[in-house]
């Protein structure tokens, strides 16, 4: 039943034909990748706002995009547009202002940020008015109409749809830190159904602002190793103490294999399968028995028709929190058995931090680049944790052919999504 164009369940095979990337290592996949495989870090002290007194003062910010004044919404759009344009250009698909498929975008929260609230609160607004009543009165005057885009979730996908001419209703997705992987899953499913022959999958996140930082800090999720920013993110290491918030965007053009071949497109990789499993245990913690994470990996391999022994490399979620890394090790062991010791498992977050909503997209791009280049990106800052005996590909990385990659994404709220990519079948 399996052939070049139909998978093990008789469904259309889905290919990746375009990639785009923005990370704290730089804009463009070539820049980011060249720095990633040589073990450079994009984590640095935050300069966007004063950080005195904060427990965490570092992040993987994207500082070289021209967005002033900063807003999470505006920076996310700028990064998403850059990544999507790069992916479409590589795929050489469609025409300007006409991408022949839907847009699926993982986007950060749409909320007023403090400067916006301050602006609306900073005008008296009327006799005796205060708080929200004052802001509502000022909003009615139409003096603050330009803030509307910040509060609409559909605004980012709307802008991207207009910029690239994608088809139909654009989707905005949030499955927390699994969101980027979910966009790929939705694209894969739509192509398999025959709803479309192509999809543009994008994830972007730019939420390094005071409230974002404080929120995650209150959950005790962030590293406080501020003194040496590039060493703070240390997935699977003995002294790991939390993740480093980061910004970035990733974009992939997915196409049915048949359609891609018919138009002579270069196939970068095959999306073999996706799987997901929700966790009902706790709002921020996984089930202790690992059932949800294990279930997500197993469902992914089943969907992909891939035996655990066929996985040559794992692009780990690897956040560098004590709990995530332990759970990921445990779950991979449950699925791969003793073989896990010999399977390279590296975490890009050691260098670019955790790009949150965008992480699944960014890491999917890195996974495909790993297959393309036969280079395994390292896990930097590695100090072995004897409880997690893994081949994390310590700095300086390694050259090795890779046919099949498992990319993991796990989110707060219990949403776990994994993707398997393979090289084009010979």
């Amino acid at each position: 039943m399996t052939s070049r164009t139909r998978d093990h369940k008789g469904r259309p095979v889905v290919a990746v034909t375009g990639l785009g990337l923005v990370t704290s290592l730089g804009a463009g996949k070539h820049t980011s990748w060249a720095r990633l495989v040589t073990g450079q870090s994009g984590v640095k002290s935050i300069t966007r706002f004063p950080t005195d007194g904060l427990k965490t003062t570092i992040a993987g910010t994207v500082d070289d995009m021209d967005v002033a004044p900063y807003s999470a919404h505006d920076l996310a759009i700028r990064m998403a547009e850059a990544a999507a344009a790069e992916a479409i250009a590589q795929a050489r698909i469609g025409r300007p202002l006409h991408f022949p498929g839907p847009l699926i975008v993982a986007t950060p929260p749409s909320e007023f940020e403090w400067p916006h609230l301050r602006a609306m609160h900073g005008v008296p607004g009327g006799e005796g008015l205060d708080g929200y009543a004052r802001m509502l009165a000022n909003a009615r005057t139409r003096a603050f109409d330009d803030l509307a885009r910040h509060i609409r979730f559909a605004a980012i996908s709307d802008r991207l749809k207009a910029a690239f001419g994608t088809q139909g209703e654009p989707l905005s997705i949030c499955t927390a830190c699994a969101s980027g992987a979910t966009t790929i899953q939705l694209g894969l499913e739509a192509i398999r159904r025959g709803d479309t022959e192509a999809a543009l999958c994008v994830g972007a996140d730019a939420t390094v602002h005071p409230e974002g930082l404080i929120r995650f800090s209150l959950l005790s999720a962030l590293s406080t190793a501020n003194d040496e920013p590039t060493k703070a993110s240390k997935p699977f290491s003995k002294g790991r103490d939390g993740f480093v918030m980061a910004e970035g965007a990733g974009a992939l053009v997915l196409e049915s294999y048949d359609a891609a071949r018919a138009r002579g497109a270069r196939i970068l990789a095959i999306v073999r399968g996706c799987g997901e499993k929700a966790d009902e245990h706790h709002r921020t913690r996984s089930r202790p028995d690992g059932a949800a994470v294990i279930g997500a990996i197993r469902k992914t391999l089943d969907d992909a028709g891939v035996h655990p022994d066929e996985i040559d490399y794992v692009n780990a979620h690897g956040t560098s929190t004590p709990e995530n890394d332990r759970m990921e090790y445990f779950a991979l062991g449950a699925v791969m058995g003793d073989r896990l010791r010999n399977v390279p498992v590296s975490s890009n977050k050691s260098m670019i931090g955790h790009t949150l909503i965008a992480a699944g997209s960014v890491e999917a791009v890195f996974s495909v680049l790993t297959i393309e280049s036969a280079k395994l990106p390292p896990t930097i800052n590695y100090d072995p944790d004897p409880e997690l005996p893994l081949d994390v590909v310590p700095d300086p990385g390694r050259e090795s052919p890779v046919a099949t990659v498992l990319s993991n994404s796990f989110g707060f709220g219990g949403q776990n999504v994994c993707v398997v990519f393979s090289a084009e079948p010979a």
Partner: protein, 410 residues
């Protein structure tokens, strides 16, 4: 584009509704008794903005653990409650094996801010002006970690998984009304294509929030003043009246429902969505094109329509032009803007419309017409199908066609 042809039938086997009218299918059944129903509107609390407040209900009936209730704000409670009603109604609640392979498709907006904390911060910023320092001084003490979780869009889904043990998969869609269109469409298409057998799909809105009102006033989308039905508002300047709504449905492949002996409310025969730029005429044109895209013949004669019109101008009037086009093509739309009765549920609005359409088919009635002279005509005779429209207040268009499942085939 070569869509698969052997599509499976999609049934609605469970409905969970909570709104200003009450909290279950029985309470909403009153809409289909043929008697007039008085909308529940609070015009004072957020003056000049009327809202449809959530009816008083006992959340503990669907969210038994106090610790779970404490972890949620109203938006999540409404949604988790409605989700529980739908699962119970479908006979899925408590069936661990089935819940483990039940999928979730949730429409969500922003979570809820602690408006008191916001005001406290803003007050001090007025005096000091150094935003970052104050954000450090005030927020760390005021932002509870649990409140942060209340602000995450995907935590409605997370809480449904935790409280009701729905763990097959979980996808949260955002984008105002588009979120509701997308969640329903995703569930529908996956079941049709055999990618899922059973999906809990829907959304929730807590209208009783100043931060929500501010978010929509910034786009001048809200109706001000006394309550008016949707069509009347569109003619008088436009604006929507938010309603607290939780709307969840259990959608199921017919074969899956039959195998476990679940009875259908109705079948979703077709569901199509679009997004236009909204230049003049776009919405009318898009709805007409969507009707063609449904791929299901809609016979001439009376066509019951549950309209998701928001009341925002000129979009709501464009929807009326679509009904005129329908009339010109031999169909006689008998419309009801259900937003006149329960308010505009934004993310939850389209799921609520589909839920009400399913109830209409079960009861053989439409909701009572609102007081808008010539638009909402009386219904005579039985109904076998209902068209549901979803037209976002600034983006997103969609149509769903529901059919009665005849006794014979059921």
């Amino acid at each position: 584009m070569g869509r698969i042809t052997d599509k499976r039938e999609v049934w609605i086997t469970g409905i969970g509704l909570a709104s200003s009218l009450g909290a279950d299918t029985e309470a909403h059944g009153a809409l289909f008794s043929g008697e007039a129903v008085e909308p529940s509107v609070d015009e004072d609390r957020y003056d000049p903005y009327p809202v449809h407040p959530l009816a008083e209900l006992d959340f503990g009936r669907q969210i038994p653990k106090k610790s779970d209730l404490r972890q949620m704000e109203a938006w999540q409670r409404i949604g988790v409650y409605a989700a529980g009603l739908a699962l119970t109604d479908a006979g899925v609640a408590g069936d661990g094996a089935l819940l483990d392979r039940t999928h979730l498709a949730v429409a969500a907006g922003s979570g809820e801010r602690d408006t008191k904390v916001d005001c406290d911060v803003l007050e001090r910023l007025d005096q000091r002006g150094d935003a970052a320092v104050l954000a450090k001084e005030v927020l760390p003490g005021a932002l509870r970690p649990t409140l942060f979780l209340a602000q995450l869009s995907n935590m409605l889904a997370g809480n449904i998984s935790i409280v009701h043990s729905v763990t097959g998969s979980s996808r949260t869609f955002m984008g105002e009304e588009i979120a509701g269109l997308a969640a329903m469409e995703n569930a529908f298409r996956r079941i049709q294509a055999g990618q899922a057998d059973i999906v809990l799909a829907g959304g929730a809105l807590n209208a009783e929030r100043e931060d929500l009102l501010l978010g929509y006033e910034i786009g001048h989308n809200l109706w001000r003043g006394g309550h008016r039905p949707v069509w009347a508002r569109a003619r008088e300047g436009g604006g929507f009246t938010p309603g607290s709504v939780g709307a969840f449905l259990v959608l199921e492949a017919r074969s899956h429902a039959e195998a476990r002996g679940a009875a259908p409310y109705a079948r979703i025969s077709a569901l199509e969505t679009e997004r236009t730029q909204r230049q003049a005429g776009d919405v009318t044109r898009a709805l007409s094109e969507l009707l063609e895209r449904l791929g299901v013949p809609v016979p001439t004669g009376p066509l019951p329509v549950l309209s998701g019109a928001s009341g925002v101008a000129p979009i709501t009037e464009e929807e009326l032009s679509f009904f005129d086009d329908l009339t010109a093509r031999g169909r006689a739309p008998i419309t009801r803007a259900y937003g006149s009765l329960i308010g505009h549920g934004v993310e939850a609005h389209f799921p609520a419309g589909i839920a009400l359409a399913a109830l209409a088919l079960r009861h053989g009635q439409l909701p009572p017409p609102s007081e808008t002279d010539d638009i909402e005509l009386p219904l005579t005779g039985a109904i076998d199908r209902v068209l549901v429209t979803g037209v976002g207040h600034w983006r997103g268009e969609g149509l769903a066609l529901l059919d009665r499942v005849s006794e014979k085939t059921a």
